[in-house]
């Protein structure tokens, strides 16, 4: 059972929830940029939430399924089709052997996740299947997918196999979809444009009053230098009150650092473990996943929130994910 890559798209990689425990030896966390969408895709096919899936970026791939496969697509809208028919998002879809699925370019958001029941049959490296592109570690041969790659899928659970069989029993031509879907978690244009919530960064107080004002009141744009490592922004120049001598120290996902030229950089999934630029703000985890769905030239605004609010939104989101999981399990069992 496998997926054959007919066209790889712009950047299609295998990612799970990330590689933890090895930053201390210089190994990045990597993992899905939008982890919530990845986890939803896995839940919808009966996988462990941390299973690896395909992360699809800006221009999608074309994929052939060599066997009947239960899949789910979440995240950015790439208008995927099979035999000219649109494949819906946010629900289990049973795809028949021989079907070819074509993702278009991204219409809304930036990244989609394609999960298959059973996940991908790939050895974990340092506890994770995520692709660490720059070091050539993990994923499929440590690299982005290429034409003619054959990705073996793992064995689906009996539960996933049962869902696949019951969907196909309806007499599908090339695919069959569940009649229900998860609506609440789907993102919209409005949700993408909402301000990104941040807490004050480690060196916030060293920035000039005008820098702080500009950072929160003006609009920035995502520059063309926006990848899995980080997003460089364009907009008002930010300056520290006086030049800061910072000894390199550890940073986090969503850290917003400001190099001497004054243009902020948001650090994303493939960020290095240690850096030495002043940190003006720290994106809350929930909104870092939203940044992953922004693409070059998209506008971005920031809103300062308290540490308490940041913690609460992390916890609320996890409760939300638990509730969605319970709802999906109930639906799948019917």
């Amino acid at each position: 059972m496998s997926l054959k890559i007919i066209r790889p798209g712009l950047l299609t990689t295998i990612q799970d929830c990330g590689r933890y425990g090895y930053q201390k030896i210089g190994v990045l966390v990597s993992g899905a940029m939008d982890t919530y969408s990845l986890r939803l895709a896995n839940m919808l096919v009966g996988n462990d939430e941390n299973e690896a899936a395909l992360e699809i970026t800006l221009l999608g791939p074309t994929i052939e399924f060599t066997a009947d496969t239960l899949i789910a697509v979440t995240g950015g809208d790439f208008k995927p089709i099979i035999d000219g028919m649109p494949v819906p998002y946010m629900r289990p879809v049973a795809v028949k052997a021989g079907a070819i699925m074509k993702f278009s370019n991204c219409q809304l958001g930036c990244r989609a996740y394609l999960a298959v029941a059973g996940g991908f049959d790939i050895d974990k490296v340092m506890g994770s299947k995520s692709t660490y592109l720059r070091a050539g570690i993990g994923g499929f041969q440590g690299r982005a997918l290429q034409k003619n790659d054959l990705l073996n899928t793992g064995t689906p659970t009996a539960f996933s196999q049962h869902i696949l069989a019951s969907l196909l029993s309806r007499g599908a031509q090339s695919f069959a979809q569940a009649r229900w879907f998860i609506g609440k978690a789907q993102f919209s244009k409005e949700k993408l444009l909402k301000p990104i919530r941040v807490t004050a960064g480690l060196h916030y107080k060293y920035f000039s009053e005008s820098a702080k004002y500009n950072f929160f009141s003006s609009q920035y744009r995502i520059s063309k230098d926006a990848d899995r490592m980080g997003y460089r922004l364009q907009g008002e120049v930010l300056k520290a009150e006086k030049p800061l001598e910072i000894i390199s120290e550890a940073i986090n996902l969503g850290t917003i650092q400001v190099p001497p030229q004054g243009m902020p950089i948001i650090l994303m999934a493939d960020h290095q473990s240690v850096a030495g630029y002043p940190i003006i703000a720290q994106t809350i985890t929930v909104d870092a996943a939203r940044i992953a769905q922004l693409k070059p030239n998209d506008p971005i605004h920031f809103k300062l929130v308290s540490h308490e609010e940041a913690e609460q939104s992390f916890i609320d989101m996890e409760k939300h994910m638990e509730n969605i999981k319970i709802a999906i399990m109930a639906k799948l069992k019917n």
Binding site: Y20, I25, G26, A250, Q282, H307, I315
Partner: protein, 242 residues
């Protein structure tokens, strides 16, 4: 340890940074190592990982899991709860006998093809290449942190008599195992990468093996000694790896 001798600050809602000072020296670094060692032995609920750097330790955690585990602290933030745990750990770690650092000897073939910049470094300081090798192999280097790329050590302790600025034109590809100098720093490249360091030698030892149980030869807190070897010894060690 006196609570005024370190600070704990949030690094977002999923990590905190414990800073023991603002100077790069072995005494301050030792405090980071002691805390890290204590966390290794006593990981708290929600703990994910830590990163040691020059003067601090970042501790990463999942606030949702931590919050669920500390139900009798309902009104406290997760940051406050974990900060208290770290205070306790630092105090307890200070009472334990300090761990003996691991000393790792790294064989290096200096000069020639392995170290194409050694003559430049020698000339820059008016030294002979043998003197450069002598000066470079004398110290016990302390690994302050691993970063930049997998297994790459940031080491302290190099003699300033051989401190040399980076190359004005970086190389497009530096072979794995290269040992170099950049300003007052010395280090080794675990994987082939572009870079501007002055290359003075190369080790046949693997600094990083992704599939090994412990992928990195070096860790923060280790002591490194460079041992000069001949090109013949270098070749033999390379051949033995095959």
């Amino acid at each position: 340890m006196d609570k005024n001798s370190y600070t704990i600050k949030p690094l977002g809602e999923t990590a905190l940074l414990v800073t023991f000072g603002n100077e790069i020296n072995p005494q301050i670094h030792k405090k980071s190592q002691n805390l890290a060692m204590y966390i290794d032995k006593h990981p708290f609920p929600g703990f994910l990982e830590y990163v040691i750097s020059y003067t601090s330790v970042a501790v990463y955690y999942n606030p949702f899991i931590a919050k669920k585990s500390y139900t009798n602290n309902k009104n406290k933030t997760v940051f406050a709860i974990i900060s208290n745990i770290i205070d306790e750990y630092i105090e307890k770690a200070a009472k334990l006998p300090a761990a003996m650092p691991k000393t790792i000897e790294i064989p290096v073939c200096y000069g020639g093809e392995c170290g194409p910049d050694i003559e430049y470094v020698a000339k820059y300081h008016n030294l002979s290449t043998d003197e450069v090798i002598n000066i470079h192999t004398q110290p016990d280097y302390l690994v302050y942190m691993i970063g930049f790329c997998p297994g790459f050590p940031y080491m302290g302790g190099m003699d300033e008599r051989i401190a040399t600025p980076r190359r004005s034109e970086p190389r497009l590809s530096i072979p794995a195992g290269s040992i170099g100098i950049a300003g007052k720093q010395t280090g080794g490249y675990p994987i082939s990468t572009p870079g501007g360091w002055q290359l003075i030698g190369r080790t046949p030892v693997d600094l990083f093996l992704p599939n090994a149980d412990d992928p990195s030869l070096l860790h923060a807190g280790d002591i490194v000694k460079f041992i000069p070897i001949s090109p013949q010894e270098y070749k033999k060690m390379e051949d033995d790896k095959l």
